[in-house]
Amino acid sequence: MGSLDQLYQQVILDHYREKHGFGMREPGTGTRTAQSHQLNPLCGDEVTVRVALGRTGADDVVQDVSWVGDGCSISLASTSTLHDLVVGETTSEAGALVGAFRAMVRARGAAEPDEELLGDAAAFVGVGRHANRVKCAMLGWTAFEDALKRAVVDGQLSPGGSTVSDDEETA
C-alpha cells in the first residue's frame, strides 16, 4: 500500500482519531465570534467552524477554533491540524497559513511541504496527487477562512453568550 501510505500519513490517521479542537464551544467573554458551515455537495461531507477572536495589544488574535463535522478522514484530520496551527496566531498570520496550505494541496503533489510553517498540516502534501480529495482537505480551511473574515468584519461581540453568524455555503 505504498501510495496509500503516502496519502494517509500516520499524522493524518492520528488526527482523524483525535480530532483536536472538536466540538462547539461557547465563545469566551469579550471575544468576537463568527462561524461558517461548508458542504461538499458531491459527497455530503460537512464541517462547521467557529472562530473566536480576542485582542492582544494592537492585534486580533485567534483565541479558539471550535468545530464539528461529518466526513472522510482527510477532511476531519485536516480541520484538526488547522486548529492546532492557527490558535494563538494573529488574523493576518492565520490568513497566511491558509494561503500556504491551499498552495500546497493545489500543487498536484509537486510542493515541498514546509513543516516549519505548517506543522502537522504539512502531511497533507500527498493530497495534491488526488484531484478528487483536494476539496476534502480544504473543507475545514475554507470554513475557517470564511469565519475569520466574518469575525473581523462583523463578528458578534460576545458577552459570553452564543450569538454567532452562520451561513451555508458550498465549498
Binding site: M1, G2, C43, G44, D70, S73, I74
Partner: protein, 441 residues
C-alpha cells in the same frame, strides 16, 4: 415476464433457464475486446467495478465510430452529396437498431443527450400548455393532478418531476421502500389513485440494485389511467428488456452504460403518446413550415430533435447493441447474476460492512452498495483504488434512498458483462482490509 427471465428463483443453482455465465475462455476472449481492461493501477491490474456509472467500450464500438468519421462524416437529413446520404443512412439505421433492441419501432425512438435529458423532455412536455402535439391536453399536468415516483429514484427521475409539479400545481407523491430494500407494494393502491396522472419509476435501482415489479406497477397505473415513465438506465444494459412486453408508455436509457458513447441517450415510447406531446426544444430539423409568425412541427421522433444530432455517437451505439445482441442478453444477465451472488456472499461475510438493498440476488442487478462502519466512503474508495479496484463512492445521485437507510453516502461495486470473478474477489479482499487500515494504525 420475459424481461425477468434472468432472475432465478432464490436457491436455484443455475441462475437462468438455459443461459449460463460466460466461462473462463469466453470471458478471456470477451475481455480482450476492451483495451482499457488491460490497464494497471500501480502494481495492480485494474478491477473496474464502476460500470453502473459508465461502462467501458469494446474496440468494436470505438472502431465503428472512427470508421464512420473517416469515411462518411456529414450533416444528416440535408445535402444531396454522397457523404450526406451515407451519414443519414447510418444515422437512421442506428435508430432502427437501438429501437429494436428494446422492442420499439424506429419512429418510436427519440435521440436525446442522455437519460436525464429524456426525463426532462417528458416532464417539460407534460407541464407546458404548448402546442404542436396532436392532443396533449389529456396528458398535461394541472393543479390537483398527482405525479408518483418511488423513494429509490436517481435524482434524474425525481428532480424533473419536482420542478414539473412546481410549474403546474400538480402534487408529487412517492411509494416507499421496505427495510430489506424492496418497493413497499402494500402502498401501491393508496399512493397510485385516480388523481395520478404520471407514474415514473426506475426499472432497477442504481444504488440498491433492486429490480422493481414493473408488471404490478403498470397494471395499477393502467387501472387508474396514469401515464407510465420507466427509467431503464440500469436495466436495458443488463437484462433482456422489451418495452412493448413491459407495456410502459415511455422509457429512457443512456448509451454510455451499455458499451456505447457518452453524449447520446434515448426516449423510447408508444407512438400515440409521443405524437400527443408538444415539442420542448425548438429550432432547426424539427419543423415543417416556418413563417415569420409561426411554425408547424414534424411528427415524432424528429419533433423532439431540434438542432444537429449526435451522429457518430448514434453509429457507435448501433454497434454496441449489435455486440450485446451477439453475446445474448440472457447470457449477459446470467453472467452478472452469478457475479452478483458472489459479491453479496462476499460482502455479507465481512464484519462491519452493511449492504444497502437486498442481500439476495433475486430480482436484483449487479450494483451492490455498502456502508463500512466507521470509515467514510471516500476513504474506502481510496483504499480500494490502491488495490487497483475502481468503485463509486458518494450518494450516486440518489440522496433520498441513502437517507432512507440511514446513510449519507456509500461505496458501490457494480459489474458488467466483462467483469471477471477475480475482480469481484479483488474488491472483496481489499474491502475486508479497509477497517483494519484505519483502525490498526
Amino acid at each position: 415476464m420475459d424481461t425477468l427471465r434472468s432472475l432465478a428463483p432464490a436457491g436455484e443453482a443455475a441462475p437462468v433457464g438455459e443461459a449460463a455465465p460466460f466461462d473462463d475462455a469466453e470471458l478471456a476472449v470477451l475481455r480482450a475486446r476492451f483495451p482499457v481492461l488491460r490497464r494497471t493501477i500501480g502494481d495492480h491490474p485494474l478491477a473496474y467495478l464502476d460500470s453502473a456509472a459508465t461502462a467501458q467500450r469494446p474496440v468494436d464500438v470505438l472502431d465503428a465510430e472512427r470508421d464512420y468519421l473517416e469515411r462518411s462524416n456529414a450533416a444528416v437529413h440535408r445535402g444531396a452529396h454522397t457523404l450526406a446520404e451515407e451519414a443519414t443512412e447510418a444515422y437512421e439505421q442506428a435508430r432502427v437498431a437501438v429501437a429494436g433492441f428494446v422492442g420499439r419501432a424506429d419512429d418510436e425512438l427519440v435521440w436525446t443527450r442522455n437519460a436525464t435529458e429524456g426525463l426532462n423532455l417528458v416532464a417539460f412536455a407534460l407541464s407546458q400548455y404548448g402546442t404542436g402535439g396532436a392532443d396533449a391536453g389529456d396528458l398535461t399536468l394541472r393543479p390537483g393532478d398527482e405525479v408518483v415516483v418511488t423513494e429509490l429514484e436517481h435524482h434524474a427521475n425525481l428532480v424533473p418531476w419536482q420542478q414539473a409539479c412546481l410549474r403546474t400545481g400538480a402534487h408529487l407523491r412517492w411509494i416507499g421502500l421496505t427495510d430489506d430494500g424492496r418497493l413497499d407494494e402494500t402502498q401501491l393502491d393508496d399512493v397510485i389513485t385516480d388523481r395520478t396522472k404520471v407514474l415514473a419509476f426506475a426499472h432497477a435501482s442504481n444504488v440498491l440494485g433492486t429490480v422493481l415489479p414493473v408488471e404490478r406497477l403498470v397494471e395499477r397505473a393502467r387501472a387508474v389511467g396514469a401515464l407510465t415513465v420507466l427509467d431503464a438506465c440500469q436495466s436495458v444494459p443488463h437484462l433482456d428488456v422489451n418495452l412493448v412486453d413491459l407495456d410502459v408508455d415511455l422509457a429512457v436509457f443512456s448509451a454510455h452504460k451499455m458499451l456505447g458513447p457518452t453524449g447520446i441517450g434515448a426516449l423510447a415510447g408508444r407512438r400515440e403518446i409521443l405524437d400527443a406531446l408538444p415539442p420542448v426544444l425548438t429550432g432547426g430539423s424539427m419543423v415543417e413550415v416556418v413563417t415569420m409568425e409561426s411554425s408547424t412541427f414534424r411528427p415524432p421522433p424528429q419533433r423532439f430533435e431540434a438542432g444537429t444530432p449526435p451522429v457518430s455517437q448514434a453509429v457507435a451505439w448501433h454497434r454496441a447493441v449489435e455486440v450485446l445482441d451477439d453475446l445474448g442478453m440472457d447470457r449477459v444477465a446470467a453472467h452478472e447474476h452469478a457475479l452478483t451472488e458472489r459479491l453479496l456472499a462476499g460482502v455479507t461475510k465481512i464484519p462491519g460492512v452493511r449492504v444497502l438493498g437486498p442481500e439476495t440476488a433475486t430480482d436484483r442487478v449487479g450494483a451492490v452498495s455498502v456502508v463500512v462502519d466507521g470509515v467514510h466512503p471516500h476513504d474506502v474508495g481510496q483504499v480500494l483504488d490502491a488495490a487497483g479496484v475502481a468503485v463509486r463512492v458518494g450518494h450516486h445521485c440518489a440522496q433520498p434512498v441513502h437517507r432512507r437507510y440511514g446513510a449519507t453516502a456509500s461505496t458501490r461495486a457494480s459489474v458488467y458483462l466483462y467483469t471477471a470473478p477475480s475482480e469481484v474477489d479483488a474488491f472483496l479482499e481489499a474491502l475486508a482490509g479497509v477497517r483494519a487500515y484505519f483502525g490498526r494504525r
